[in-house]
Amino acid sequence: MSETKIGAYICKGCGLGERLDCDQLATIAEREGKANVVKQHDFLCNADGVKMIQDDIDNDGVNHVVICACSRRAKTEAFNFENVAISRANLREGVIWVRPDAEDMRETTQEMAADYVRMGCFEAKFMTLPASEQEKGHNNRLLVVGGGDAGMTAALEAAKAGYPVTLVEKTGQLGGSLGKMWKDVPSHAPYADPVEPDVKELAAQIEAHDKITVHLNATITKTSGSPGQFSADITTESGGTTTENFGAIVQASGAKSYDMSKLPELGAGKSPDVVDQMGLEQLAMEANGGAIKRPSDGKEISNIVFVQCAGQRSTKEGHLPYCSGHCCLTSIKQAMYFKDQNPSIETNLIYTDLRTPGAGGEDFYRSGQEKGIIFTKGIVSEVSSSGGGLQVKYKDLILDEDVNQAADLVVLATGMVPNSGVDIEAAPTEAEGDGGNGASQEVTVESILNLTYRQGKDLPHLKYGFNDSHFICFPYETRRSGIYTCGPVRRPMDSQQAREDATGAALKAIQAIENAKLGRAAHPRSGDLSYPSFRKEGCTQCKRCTVECPFGAIDEDEERYPVFNESRCRRCGTCMGACPVRVISFENYSVDTVGQQLKNVDMPDEFDEKPRILVLACENDAYPALDMAAMQGNHYSQWARVIPVRCLGSVNTIWVTDALNAGYDGVVLMGCQKGDDYQCHFVKGSEIAHERMSKIDDTLETLNLEKERVETYEVAITDIERAPRLINDMAAAIEKMGMSPFKF
């Protein structure tokens, strides 16, 4: 890019002209901000104003634009110039809307505006236009791991969109769990009877599809690379390994049935006539449409009890704390196997909450009732065999009495356990430790993907071993860019949901491929072309960046230097915040773009009694909250200087120490909620920042400053009244503590 030419444009609209001395601001932009072109406009965002700027870009070589007008969140489309670095000095929401329009306030309000103009100019000066030059991955083949209902659907849907797919299935055939079922729950009206599972149909389509390659009896023994350029070793049972390249990966490794031998009280293992749902499917398969016979003696079955939530929704040791979602519908379906065969067979389904949601669910429930399935709200305490039959002991919650019912067969709805591979975040001790039923299977888990990533072999688990996203609004958020999970490995679900989920995951995989081609970041900074670069000379191989990256985007080379995988990077800047020697930066967001802003705030000397408060606010939550406070006319201290940051995780403690050294009287950091229900959209950023800041006290001590001068808060986007209050609290605290001695 040619030499930097800064154009600063000052808007006089929305009352800026009346409230501020714009000529003075122009002078500041020119003299202090070193802007090469400075212009004022009555109404900068209208066609004429925008044209004025575009002309300077086209004819005058302006390549760094400073918009001194409203918040970066407003009029974004109007000020969206291509191929130039843009910074926004927020004079409206950041200054005149948060300050009273009073004569005696004019001076401080003007100072605020002046500082933002300076800050804007220096931010722009130290920005370079992101030109994603890293060598991009162009591979557009999908790897789908798992050949069950979800995996097959993902493969087919992607192929239908024109993308080649390699499908890897561990067993000898496609179909997964659903393939082992006699019938499926209907996914379209009428929701009345069990239907043929679609797996055979899907398998046939897959075999017929020229874009899909299938590897049976195969697993993934090594995965490396990044979106657009993954490389995976596919190893077959026989031991042969082929290495293939992929653009993106969909993990549909499914779930297994809960180990019912943990439920002896419910007769599991004690009698062959106590089966789990998959066990019943097997009996149905064997009966092949004929009467289902009793395992123990092949006798006709005339009386079946279905026990819902067996070992589920329970905090008991070794039980599943969650609900597996599909079991109610599945048991109804299975009871229908019998009722459709012979209506006189008694089927009693014992439940605590019958969970058949949606349009289809409730219809299917009604259909079950029409077929004569008996539904009993109750809790089963014991299943025992007695004289050739079974005895089910349960409490009928409606009739409020204990019941002993004889049964030929008992079906336990035991739920599912995800095949999510190694829990890379579990403390290794835990894995073996607590010698418990729960952990026992974790000891022997094999990895699904065998990632070569610095942070571990598999995708991080969210909860209960499921690979789900933590975000309500973004169910496909992944902490391993380009790798998406779907189906029961993600969350307990039935086949209909799994197919829908798989289709979504395929879309995200395709999107990752398209993004990689252009070097674009994925959500939440969609389209961001910048990427982190680092000065190897300065690096001390401290590994903080590789450890802290919430997305495991950074590996290490032989010499322990970080290796950035750009297309895995989500541009949150946590690495930048982590780096003690400040060698990591982005073109348009760096230690300097922020550092220079806070350095170039005009710092009055101690006796002016004009403190300065540096506010570093998360651009997605705290900053909008302050904007909306401004829209609502909530005022805050004229001493505040607010700088939006990509994520609090990107805040390098050097900024705080620099600020304090430069004479700021207080620093307020605003990030998102951390902890289990974290709201940080870069997952760990806020948490890491809080961690770092907890250590800042030492720094303050060495400077011997009160530690109240630095505060770190969790601020939500809805804290429209609270966010300004936090700033004012700091102003008040400073008033008590007095000015910082570090002013020159």
Binding site: C14, A161, P357, A359, P475, G527, D621, I720
Partner: protein, 427 residues
């Protein structure tokens, strides 16, 4: 919104709620041309009227901010607000669509400075607050409205208020002459994401929503928690503005009921469990919540949220469909009558406030759908994959936000399959 560029490789998304916005963004971020049509003046839809999401108790506006940033940053995506689909013809890969666009009377010169709102006097029921509050005749629908542009209520057009607004605007952003527009589009695929509306609680006669002030709907309860909402964020009962600390929640209010909605609306149980946490948030230990239910449907991982609420000693669960509600004339308390079916115990319980967990009614024009699609008895579109029209979110089934977004993402791929076929980009 003068010229709209669209080809038979364009994807049209109908509905600007979280499902529509997601479908539009996911397609656009795959490099597709997308047009997003919303009938209201702002994107955001139903979720923008919620206080928190279950089970994380995080704020919908947080996700909306991210999505708005994605929209602003994406050049493949055009947003058209205040417009509705009036006709569709053609087939997959080649639909011609006509839109009716209502006048906003405010052009994109608007800087949202708010001067017009200050001078206009006329006030109307605020749709965003389900009419629990008034708003000006010139208004920004809500804090995070996108586009961030004011709207003039058509009812002030031709009144002095309209002229006042026009005078107040320094940027001549107000155009009182603007008329309804007809927009013709050619698109390849259509994603239908028109979402849902809360079931009309007044139709559930035994609960007297239309006769008793202190019987409200669950969506109205959500609005109470908004600091800028009708009660300034306080849980107050309508009759006397007194704090409602003893609140009854009635599940399946209109759902799972052949007299109303035959389907289970899925979200209501979790929504109620979530709302009990609002009470604890506001009154700490000084509250009582009673949940009257048939089955608590806290599906899959969400069940642990149910378990957490069950541990709250101030929340009780009664397995009972409330028979009817009467009003205690003296106190204004709604009195719930029914039978706790677990052991058959009859009750007549007075509460400060009763919240009806109203069901989800799909906003799908069942009998007037512009083109042939399969709609099931409950009014949801059963997108069978054929053709070029795909339902997303709550047009396809009663879904929570998370599932609606999954469904929207899936629908994006289905639409892309169609336009890719058109583009012949296979292979």
């Amino acid at each position: 919104m003068s010229e709209v560029i669209a080809t038979n490789q364009t994807i049209l998304v109908v509905g600007g709620g979280i499902s529509g916005v997601t479908a539009a963004l996911e397609s656009a971020e795959c490099g597709k041309q997308v047009i997003l049509v919303e009938k209201n003046p702002s994107l955001g839809g139903r979720v923008s009227q919620l206080y928190k999401y279950f089970p994380k108790l995080c704020f919908p506006s947080c996700g909306m901010e991210i999505n708005l940033r994605r929209i602003k940053a994406n050049r493949n995506l055009q947003v058209i607000t205040m417009a509705e689909v009036s006709g569709v013809s053609g087939e997959a890969g080649n639909y011609s669509v006509s839109l009716k666009k209502r006048p906003r009377y405010v052009n994109d010169n608007c800087t949202a400075c708010g001067e017009c709102g200050k001078v206009v006097e006329a006030e109307f029921d605020d749709e965003y607050n389900y009419g629990m509050k008034k708003r000006k005749g010139a208004y920004l629908p809500f804090n995070m409205s996108y586009p961030q542009r004011y709207v003039l209520d058509p009812r002030i057009i031709g009144t002095p208020d309209a002229d006042k607004a026009k005078e107040a605007c320094k940027y001549d952003a107000i155009d009182l002459e603007s008329q309804e527009e007809e927009i013709q589009l050619n698109v390849g695929a259509i994603i239908w994401a028109t979402g849902w509306r809360p079931y009309d609680a007044a139709k559930i006669q035994p609960y007297g929503y239309d006769r008793m002030e202190n019987v409200i709907s669950s969506v109205e309860f959500e609005r109470m928690l908004d600091p800028f909402g009708p009660t300034g964020g306080k849980i107050l009962r309508p009759s006397d503005g007194k704090e409602a600390k003893d609140v009854a929640f009635i599940q399946c209010a209109g759902s799972r009921d052949r007299n109303h909605l035959r389907h289970c609306s899925r979200i209501c149980c979790m929504a109620t469990l979530k709302q009990t946490t609002y009470l604890r948030e506001q009154f700490q230990d000084d509250f009582k919540a009673s949940v009257y239910y048939i089955d608590i449907r806290a599906i899959d991982r969400l069940d642990d949220f149910y378990q957490k609420v069950q541990e709250d000693p101030n929340v009780t669960f009664v397995k009972s469909k409330v028979a009817n509600i009467t009003e205690d004339k003296a106190t204004g308390n709604p009195v719930l009558h029914g039978v706790d079916t677990e052991g058959y115990h009859r009750y007549s319980n007075p509460h400060d406030l009763c919240v009806l967990a109203v069901g989800m009614e799909p906003s799908v024009p069942k009998d007037a759908f512009p083109v042939e699609v399969k709609i099931n008895e409950s009014g949801f579109i059963e997108s069978n994959g054929s053709g070029g029209i795909f339902a997303a979110g709550c047009s396809s089934d009663a879904l929570d936000v998370n599932r609606a977004v999954q469904s929207a993402t899936a629908s994006a791929l289905r639409a892309i399959q169609v336009v890719n076929r058109v583009a012949g980009t296979e292979g």
